[in-house]
Assembly symmetry: D2
Homo-oligomer: 156 residues x 4
């Protein structure tokens, strides 16, 4: 299973701690962590996963694998800037949004559109977002909500 | 000037009428209309522009120019499905959201992120969205807000 | 009809002259010219079209419409770097390659893959490329070869 | 290190055998195998890697992770059809082309453009492609040529 973690590239200590715990829980459940590969929430979550023997994928916006934070095992280099957000979303079976601003909102919107379960902690309050109270609760809810049927939603 | 119009591919009569009026006003002001090229809000706005001698661009999600609605002069064929949303946003100097669901929300999020002025009519109430009361008011506000400085916001 | 012109962003005087003539012939036949929007072959072809009352579209790799050469009417801003090459190709009914290096080769390959007619002048000698001896011959052959059936080739 | 393997989704027995051997050699050298995730060369190479305890990434063109062949550990779901080819290329430190038609040619062109070492076995004879005589020779040459300097080539 592949669980995405989305959020800003700079974040408060409180959000960083949640991101670390989310990454840790994902790794403990043997799921692969997918994120945007940069700093902040992405880095903290990847660190939490790596410290617990997880596997981490970073879908990068830029032109070089060296943009990835030090806890990314596999950098995917898109060269598409924010255009890569939809690839992060499409590649996950469930997604956890931690905090987040406009970039995160674009990913939440894509997840809702594509019917990929989206759990939010201290994040955007949009209809369809499953709210969690802490890291453990979020990962638990992500696993409960895992996209089961492979119904594909196309742009029409 | 290039003004984007975003919204769902199916819409109520009320939203359709607003979209037509927005397209008309854009054409009367000699701006180019950019949209996603499909039905609903996109088609009504393009029709309003064409009936008033405007030029219309449709940035399509699929694989064929024949997906475009009949009021699109120039179809751009991306083959990227919803991934084309960010190209719609990047190509505009200002954007008007009319109604809209998750797809529209992803475009609103990108516009806010990239600091492209975003006017909303009966649309998502997100901080940063400039609200308008009707079609004329929206187009007027779009022209007032036109992206002036060419400050580029990169994904970091 | 939409005719693409592809080639390098820097070119010899000889290639520049051919590109100008190709743009001129496209405009005289009332077709829309689509290109990558930058300098060299793209700029010369767009200039040839504009001097003959044509309409020009530039599908840009970067983040700003101001990257477009001065002869582009409609800049499409992709933010996808070379990733935009396939959008140039998909959006055309026929394409003319003038000279060209690796970037052009990627576009030729996509055109062949997607069964979009590809005319080459002093360009890559790849099976499937229709060779032309000069600008007039190239545009004539492009119109003769215009993609007729809208058969869509998907990646399988 | 990440080594890409590119080629067609249907292939001869001879090419299939080479692809399997290439995948095997990549895994034995502890490199990650990246490919387009579908059948033919991509599947045979992934199978060769998996049978030798390698890790495999499939960068898919479609909308579902279930499009991946059975030997892909991590599917990346782009929804970009052939537009994903450049992401395959950008994500590798070196690439091995085995046979191949137009889709492969687009990837070879991008690799040459982006200065990513490209080794060819029974593939396109384009200037800049390093030719190998068999699977072992190809993987050896890929490791010798590994992109050392992280010079980034931008579209200009």
């Amino acid at each position: 299973m592949r669980i995405g973690v989305i959020g800003t590239s700079r974040c408060s200590k409180k959000i960083a701690k949640i991101a670390y715990e989310v990454g840790k829980e994902i790794a403990k459940r043997k799921a692969v962590l997918i994120c945007g590969g940069l700093g902040g929430v992405m880095e903290k979550a990847a660190r939490g996963a790596k410290k617990n023997k997880g596997l981490t994928i970073g879908i990068l916006p830029g032109f070089s694998s060296s943009d990835a934070n030090p806890y990314i095992d596999i950098p995917i280099v898109t060269g598409m800037d924010h255009g890569r957000n939809i690839i992060v979303v499409r590649s996950c079976d469930a997604i956890i949004a931690i905090g987040g601003r406009e970039g995160t909102l674009s990913e939440i919107a894509f997840a809702l559109k594509l019917r990929i379960p989206l759990i939010g902690i201290e994040s955007w309050k949009i209809e369809g977002v499953i709210r969690a109270r802490d890291a453990k609760d979020a990962v638990k809810k992500a696993f409960q909500a895992l996209k089961k049927e492979k119904k594909i939603v196309r742009c029409t």
